[in-house]
Amino acid sequence: MANASAVAAERSRPSPAGRRSAQRTNHGSSLRRRSRIGWLFIGPFAIVYVLFLVAPLAYAFYLSLFSKGLATGTTFTGWGNYAKAFADPSFLRGVWFVVRFALVLIPVQMAISLAVALVLDAITTRFARFARLMVFLPYAIPAVIGALMWGFLYSPTFGPLQQFFDLFGQHAPFLLSPTNVFGGLMNVVIWQWAGYYMIIIYAALQGIDTSLYEAAKLDGANPWQVAFRIKVPLVSSALVLIMVFALIGTLQFFTEPQILRLVSNGTITPDFTPNLYAYNQAFAYANFNYASAISFALGIVVFIAVYIFLFLTRKRGSFLS
């Protein structure tokens, strides 16, 4: 995205020569007028942006500087809530879980999405087109429904898993038990999102000039070399973009654990992820000050994580350059 913004900014920035000539011919007042009209177009969005992004962020920060005690009432505690959050085992365990989850989930998900997109780019039969739609289908299904469905499929009473294991006279593993919950949740998320990422990569692959493949073939490259030496590098900016999305989404993990919590026999605790913890602090304990601090702290964690990621990938995707 930063890459894209750089491109976009480059394109629309008036060339120095153009700017000079504009000044010389004294078009300044008309430029100011054009700027005002531009703001009329941006205005409605800007209002929403201020009301529902800037104001909540500022207010969350303000709230997070206070604490509410039963005896003392609301008092200013400065960084107290943040000190508390970063020493709170519930918050830290939640952050550690989502960070670990992101580190394992995102590479696996990317590998699957990229592999499917490459295969679909290479074959254009009816079946391939059918497969493309079916892999994408879960994106049209709300995450709540996806989580409910997998909850049923994992269920020892409804689900097919136990029946499958019965064939071998075995007990099916419960995929939401403490040892399996990591994989169980990962499966739900991959099912839900891999198709969406696949479609973005596929769209980028379709945009590559096919004459490159012809040239590579003439030079004796085999299909694998074409895939990994030409196609993958050319869609790397799409890969970076969706990895950023996946990272932001994973660190905010909420819907799936919230839905599966009730059928997990207590594995998924109310502080399982930072967002779940903030939600419960706010709505179960009416502790809005601390919940705001957690939300804000989580926002900071996400921002740092995204920044580190963009920094690490700056060469390949020409980010921050």
């Binding site: 995205m1 930063a2 976009a8 900014a9 394109r11 629309s12 054009r34 700027s35 009209i37 531009g38 177009f41 941006i42 409605p44 929403v48 942006y49 529902f52 992004l53 962020l57 709230l63 499917v116 679909l120 290479a122 009816r126 079946f127 391939a128 059918f130 497969a131 739609l133 079916m134 994408f136 289908l137 299904i141 709300p142 996806g146 409910l148 049923f152 499929l153 409804f158 097919p160 099912w191 479609i199 973005i200 990569i201 769209a203 980028a204 379709q206 900016s237 799409a238 932001i248 660190l251 909420f254 919230q258 839905i259 939600y279 706010a282 919940a291 705001s292 939300s295 926002g299 996400v302």
Partner: protein, 306 residues
Amino acid sequence: MTAARIAPKDLADAQVTPRHKPRRPGRRALPYLFLGTLVVYFLTPIWWLFVASTKDVGGLFNGSAGALWFDKNFALVPNLSDLFTYDGGIYLRWLGNSLFYALAGGLGATILAVLAGYGFAKFRIRGRNFFFALLLGSVMVPLTALVIPTFVLMSRLNLTDTIWAVILPSLLNPFGVYLMQVYTADAVPDELLDAARVDGAGEFRTFFQVAVPQLRPAFITVMLLSVVGCWNNYFLPLAMLSNTHLFPITVGLGLWQGQASANNSGGHSLWGLIIIGSLISVIPLVIAFLSMQKYWRGGLAVGSLK
């Protein structure tokens, strides 16, 4: 199921520009095996949902043919009538609410995005680079982190537990603005706009009559993404609403699931309702996606290539 039935018809016109490549049958077994396995994996939960929707309570728990095949008692119709009559037909109300929130929030966010994208792309605004960088930075702000503070702000204004609490925050879609900006910069030539202005068209007439028609593919993409975002939204309405009559379908089904798990013995009929309720609720969006795929696929490429 529904998707599978619709798919072949759509597949015929799906490929806009088929790329011709020499096909070598025989060497293609591995990719087909790979795709086939994935199709099975991605369809299994949906197939299970459809099969389970046709079972009565007994069939659900001790079905004669297992979890992935139909029970001898085909109870789809009684299940449907249960679903639509339970608790005074509240399910239909939830479905209607979801549709309303998704269309109002999605359409509103799209209109704001088209206007702002055009403003950023086609006007020399002072401090433009700064504001655009701010916009891109806010794509990275975790939106769920905003839910709790927005809730507290809204409750100060006595707006929680109203439809506005769900619709207004949904109008914020920075990524949509970014997509529209990139697309507008490419798809609407400055010469065309200048020509319209020289002919005496005002700025707004130029926008509506010259720019908007060129922006249709991006408009539909951003609209689909925003509508899906609103339709899928769970955290925001969960936090904002407590009146069950205002719930969208996601929060409603979550509520039923909570009731069903809290009461394991008497909750069986509710499990059946959740299953068929889930099935019915996925149909509208699946149809929308399958029938509009040639629009959104083009638009997604815009976002990823630049």
